[in-house]
């Protein structure tokens, strides 16, 4: 009886794992199957055609995504790193504990709320939807993510290394720059890559900030088209041609995100191996 129960539970537990994995494979399978047929050279080098016409691509959204992501990273990376360093350097102080708690809470704030917030702060003030507003929204999502992972990475640097630097008379800033950052470099790069991966697919915060644009635009203070928003619009369109475009866009977006995640993982693993040798 006990043995049978044990066996049944083992099967159930393995089954639970299998059930968790099935959606992943189904999703990847469908995205590849449906997306691959619409991906061709035109997809990357042409702008969308008006509804009803066949052909065209998503060049404007691809460029838009790169612009918005690039700008978000430009602001978000230094800010996130600095907060992470602050947390690691001041571990245990009351203020740092509060800061850590608020980064954790910020991570949990629904991204649509961030979108509304940036709408009130940036879009209303500048009186236009813009690529800039979209980047600010993504930056706000990126900072707490990056801060937390930076802190984790920095705490892995052995204290003895820092103490050795202090003993040689180095200042805190120089120790941080020359010893801690250098030792933790791989981890930090991997943290940066995975935080970019996280914001690359964000859609909700871009709805009322970057908004979307039918045309090709690289202007920072004008509405801009991005891949996630375009996928959303095309998915809800009654037009089959646009639905197909949505799948192609999804394939590109998923590949981008997975590539960022894999390279992050690969870098951190390669570094672990190197430090072991």
């Amino acid at each position: 009886m006990r043995k049978i129960k044990n066996l049944i539970m083992t099967v159930m537990i393995s089954l639970a794992t299998l059930i968790c994995l099935i959606p992943l494979f189904l999703l990847l399978y469908y995205v590849i199957k449906m997306g691959i047929s619409s991906i061709n050279l035109d997809f990357f080098i042409k702008n969308p055609k008006p509804m009803g016409e066949i052909g065209g691509g998503m060049l404007n959204s691809i460029v838009g995504t790169l612009i918005v992501l690039g700008m978000a990273s430009l602001i978000g990376i230094p800010f996130g790193l600095a907060t992470g360093i602050y947390l690691a350097e001041n571990k245990g102080t009351k203020l740092a504990e509060w800061v850590r708690l608020s980064t954790e809470v910020l991570v949990g704030i629904p991204s649509i709320v961030i979108g509304i917030l940036v709408y009130s702060w940036v879009v209303k003030t500048m009186n236009t939807f813009s690529a800039f507003a979209g980047s600010i929204a993504l930056t706000i999502i990126m900072i707490p993510l990056l801060a937390r992972s930076t802190e984790e990475v920095l705490l892995m640097v052995p204290n003895t290394l820092k103490e050795a630097a202090f003993a040689l008379g180095a200042s805190r800033w120089n120790t941080q720059r020359m010893i801690v950052m250098k030792t933790a470099m791989g981890g930090i790069i991997s943290a940066i890559l995975s935080s970019i991966g996280r914001i690359a697919g964000e859609t909700a915060p871009l709805l009322f900030t970057a908004f979307g644009n039918q045309f090709f635009s690289t202007k920072l203070f004008r509405p801009i088209s991005t891949l996630p928003i375009q996928i959303f619009t095309y998915a809800r369109s009654p037009n089959v041609v646009q639905n197909k475009m949505a799948w192609a866009g999804a394939l590109l977006l998923v590949s981008m995100v997975l590539l960022l995640n894999f390279s992050a993982k690969w870098i951190s693993q390669a570094l672990v191996k190197r430090s072991k040798n």
Partner: protein, 304 residues
């Protein structure tokens, strides 16, 4: 001399960044409240209990969205619980080494797939099957009130299933972390007494990680409450109180995503921001509580 100065600057810069983050959380609350002030003044607290949302008549009540949000979130969290506990146990105690690592990273992949892609997949691939299931349930179990409305495919049930898939990696990663903290000697003691694997899990491991499971579920509840794109795409977007699992509905997040950029009147806009404020407060409370619990677990104040 220069050393001292660069150190001071370094310290101050870090402090400023830390403070900024801290004040940011408070700033969000203040900004949302002030943008929603018009609607707060007009509707007051009874906003939460009014069941009609009709921008054309300038009538705003949040009840349909509150119900939509909580039903989909609670149901998906509840259904995900056995799956996430099972998977975490599987990864920590039933398989070892590389195999466990590979499956872990596959499950992490679930978290990295963008929400809009889940929505797309849900809308075109999942909803047709759910419609078949709903039709079948409607035909044979339609006398049960939960299944007693015309199935469209899009609706509460579809949103719940998509949410369920999306929150799995979050609760699994929390529970996995807590499982690592179960001391090996406790488990070994169990085995030494002749208990088999499941008995050790049931009598020793699960009671030990109770609070961790609670925190993991809470964090995934926080995610489910605020999930926007995927839900917006499969929930059917209907502004009425849902009466069955098949009803198209809206959540707080999905109605904002749907109506915000079409909203023209000031009272419509500020009512939508009022909804965002409510969403913010709920997810803040959930996350804050769960982080405090997790912290206590980590510092070992709660042992069981």
């Amino acid at each position: 001399m220069f050393y001292m100065r660069s150190d001071k600057v370094f310290k101050i810069v870090l402090l400023v960044f830390g403070f900024l983050i801290l004040f940011f959380s408070i700033g969000i609350f203040i900004q949302l409240s002030s943008s929603a002030w018009l609607s707060i003044k007009q509707n007051g607290v009874s906003f939460l209990f009014k069941s009609v949302w009709d921008p054309n008549k300038d009538v705003y009540g949040a009840l349909p969205f509150l119900i939509g949000t909580f039903i989909t979130a609670l149901l998906s969290v509840f259904l995900s619980l056995p799956l996430s506990i099972g998977t975490s146990l599987f990864l920590s105690d039933y398989v070892k080494g590389n195999f466990s690592n590979i499956i872990s990273s596959l499950i992490d992949l679930l978290a990295s797939i963008p929400s809009v892609v889940y929505g797309l997949w849900g809308l075109f691939m999942l909803v047709p099957y759910i419609r078949i299931l709903e039709n079948w349930l409607f035909k044979y179990a339609g006398f049960i009130p939960l299944f007693n409305s015309k199935p469209y495919g899009v609706g509460i049930l579809s949103a719940t299933v998509v949410l369920l898939i999306m929150i799995l990696p979050y609760s699994i990663s929390v529970i996995k972390e807590v499982l690592k903290m179960v001391p090996d000697d406790l488990k070994e003691a169990g085995y030494a007494l002749g208990a088999n694997k499941w008995e050790v899990m049931q009598k020793i491991v699960l009671p030990y990680i109770k609070s961790g499971i609670f925190a993991g579920t809470g964090l995934s509840l926080g995610r489910a409450l605020g999930e926007t794109m995927a839900v917006t795409m499969v929930i059917g977007n209907r502004n009425a109180v849902p009466t069955s699992l098949f009803d198209p509905a809206n959540t707080l997040a999905s109605v904002i995503a749907n109506e915000f950029y079409e909203a023209s009147s000031a009272s419509h806009v500020s009512s939508l921001i009022y909804l965002a404020l409510i969403l913010f407060v709920f997810s803040f409370l959930v996350n804050f509580t769960m982080q405090l619990i997790l912290r206590k677990i980590n510092t070992g104040m709660i042992k069981k």
